[in-house]
Symmetry: C2
Subunit: 289 residues, 2 copies
C-alpha cells in the first residue's frame, strides 16, 4: 500500500509519528467532540518548500470558534511556531491540507486545551488551464428552520466544532444515492451549505451565498475571497437566503472549501445543472486555484 503523505504535530511535543497516539481516553475532544478545528490550504513547490495559504485568517477563525466554545486557545504565536515546525518537516510537492485542532482537553486530569495539527497530501499541483473540477450532489435536510440559531448560542451556529458526525453521515448518504456531495437544506425550504464546504451560486453577473447567523452556517473564507475578487471584476455579490428551487435554475453552482477550492456541481438530485466553463475558470482563479 502506497500511503498518502501525512504529518502530525502536537503543541508541547512537536512533530510526532502519525502512528503515535496523542490523545488520552478522557480528552473531551474525543469523548464529546468538544473542540474546534480549521483547515487551510498548503501549497508545496517542486523544490519542497511549503506555504500555508492565509494562515492568519484560519487562526482568527479558529480563535472565534474557540471563543464560542469558551475554550482558552493558545496564542497565535504558539500555533505559528508549531506550524513552522510542521512545514519544515513537510516537503511533498503539490496540494495538501493543514488541519488545526483544539479540544477542551482532559476531563479527569485537567491540563488545559489539547492543540494539534495534521498536514495531509491531497493532489499534485493544479493545472490552471485544465477543465474545472466537477462533482454531483444531492440536497438533504439539516432538520432545522433557517432561523434556528438566532438567539441560541448554545447551538454553536457558525462554529467549526469537532462534532461533525452528521456531516460525515450525510456524505455517506450522498454516496448511497450515487452522488459525491451534499447541499444541506432547511425545513422551510432554503439552501444552507455542504458538510465541509460553503455554497456559491451564479445568476447572471450576480454571485450569491447563504448568510451566517440564524442559519447556523459557517463563514466560508474561500467564498469571501472569491466574492472580493469577483466584485473587483464587475460582479455583484450578495448573502441572502436561497430557495432550494433556485439551485436547479442557477447559471452555475459550486461547493467551495479552502482545501479543494471551488468545485462545480454538474447534477443536483440527479437533475443536470447549467455549467459555464469560462465562468468556472474565472471563479477558480478568484479563489487562487
Amino acid at each position: 500500500m502506497s500511503e498518502v503523505p501525512h504529518l502530525v504535530a502536537v503543541l508541547g511535543r512537536g512533530v510526532v509519528s502519525p502512528d503515535d497516539p496523542v490523545v488520552t481516553a478522557d480528552d473531551l475532544g474525543l469523548t464529546r467532540g468538544d473542540g474546534c478545528f480549521d483547515s487551510a490550504r498548503v501549497v508545496t513547490d517542486p523544490s519542497g518548500t511549503a506555504q500555508i495559504v492565509d494562515l492568519d485568517d484560519h487562526l482568527d477563525r479558529l480563535a472565534a470558534s474557540a471563543g464560542a466554545l469558551d475554550i482558552a486557545i493558545p496564542p497565535h504565536d504558539a500555533w505559528r511556531s508549531l506550524v513552522s515546525e510542521a512545514v519544515a518537516a513537510w516537503s511533498t510537492p503539490g496540494e495538501a491540507v493543514l488541519k488545526l485542532m483544539l479540544t477542551r482537553g482532559r476531563e479527569w486530569r485537567p491540563a488545559g486545551p489539547t492543540a494539534l495539527l495534521t498536514i495531509t497530501h491531497r493532489a499534485p499541483s493544479p493545472t490552471p488551464t485544465g477543465p474545472p473540477r466537477t462533482i454531483t450532489a444531492v440536497t438533504l435536510t439539516r432538520g432545522h428552520p433557517s432561523d434556528a440559531f438566532t438567539d441560541a448560542p448554545w447551538l454553536l451556529g457558525g462554529v467549526k466544532t469537532l462534532s461533525y458526525v452528521v456531516n460525515a453521515a450525510a456524505t455517506r448518504e450522498a454516496k448511497r444515492r450515487g452522488a459525491d456531495d451534499v447541499i444541506f437544506t432547511t425545513t422551510d425550504g432554503f439552501a444552507l451549505d455542504g458538510p465541509t464546504s460553503g455554497l456559491l451560486l451564479a445568476r447572471g453577473r450576480t454571485l450569491l451565498s447563504t448568510p451566517t447567523g440564524g442559519t447556523g452556517i459557517l463563514e466560508s473564507l474561500t467564498v469571501a475571497a472569491i466574492m472580493d475578487a469577483a466584485r473587483a471584476d464587475g460582479f455583484e455579490t450578495r448573502f441572502e437566503l436561497i430557495p432550494v428551487e433556485d439551485l436547479y435554475a442557477a447559471d452555475a453552482l459550486w461547493l467551495v472549501s479552502s482545501g479543494r477550492g471551488p468545485v462545480l456541481i454538474t447534477t443536483l438530485d440527479a437533475r443536470p445543472l447549467r455549467t459555464d466553463t469560462a465562468l468556472a475558470t474565472a471563479i477558480a482563479r478568484y479563489a487562487g486555484f
Copy 2:
C-alpha cells in the same frame, strides 16, 4: 489534589494508564466526533467487587448506535472480555460510571474501529432512605421541530454519538443561568430530553416521557426500567409529545440517566415545581437506586 478514581482499557491493549494517549491524530472519533458511546452504572460493594448494571442492554444499544453509523462493532464477547478485565482492576466501593466508546477508527491508516472504555468513580453508595436527589433546570431550544428526524437517518436521531458538543454547550448555558441542567425543547413547543438524560413526568398516577423517532431523542434504558416497574405498581405509562407548558404543571418532573438514576427537578426556568417526596422515593426504587 485528591483524584477521582478512574480506569482506562483499550480493546487490543487491555488496561492502560489513564495518562497514556490512546487515540491517534487521524482517528475519526477525534477529528469528526464520528463514533458512538454508551454509559452504564457500576456498583462496587465494600469488599471491592464491582458489578455492571444491565451491561447487555448497554451493549445492545451501543450496537444499535454503531449500526446507524455503519461502523462494524466488535462482537459483544470482545466487549465483555474487556469489561471483565477492567472490572477485575476496579475496586473503589460505591457508584461509578462505565463508558463504552467506539470510533470509526483511523482515517490515514485504516485499521478498523477503535474500541475503548473508562470507569470513573462518582459517589459513595446511595442511602435508600435518604431524601431524593434534586436539581434545578432551564429549558433551551434544540433548534428543530418535533418531527425533524422523520425519514432523515443521516441526522442520526436516537444515536448516542461522540458529537456531543451542543449537549456540553447547553449545560454550560444552564450554569450561566444559575441552573444545574437542561430540558431541550423543539421549535414547535414540545419537550425533548436533557443533554445526558431522559425526561420523566408524573401527572397523577400517569408517567409520561417523550417518544423517540421524529424527535431524534435517544431511548432511555432507565426511563424504560422505571416505567416497567411502575406499571407493575399500578401506574399508567405513555410516550407522547409533552407541551413545554405541561412541564411547569407536572406533579413531579425528573431527568433520568443510567449513571445517576432519576433526579427530581425542583425549579424549571426559575419557577418552582411541585415535588412529591414519596413518589420520588418510589421512582428511585423502580430505577434500582
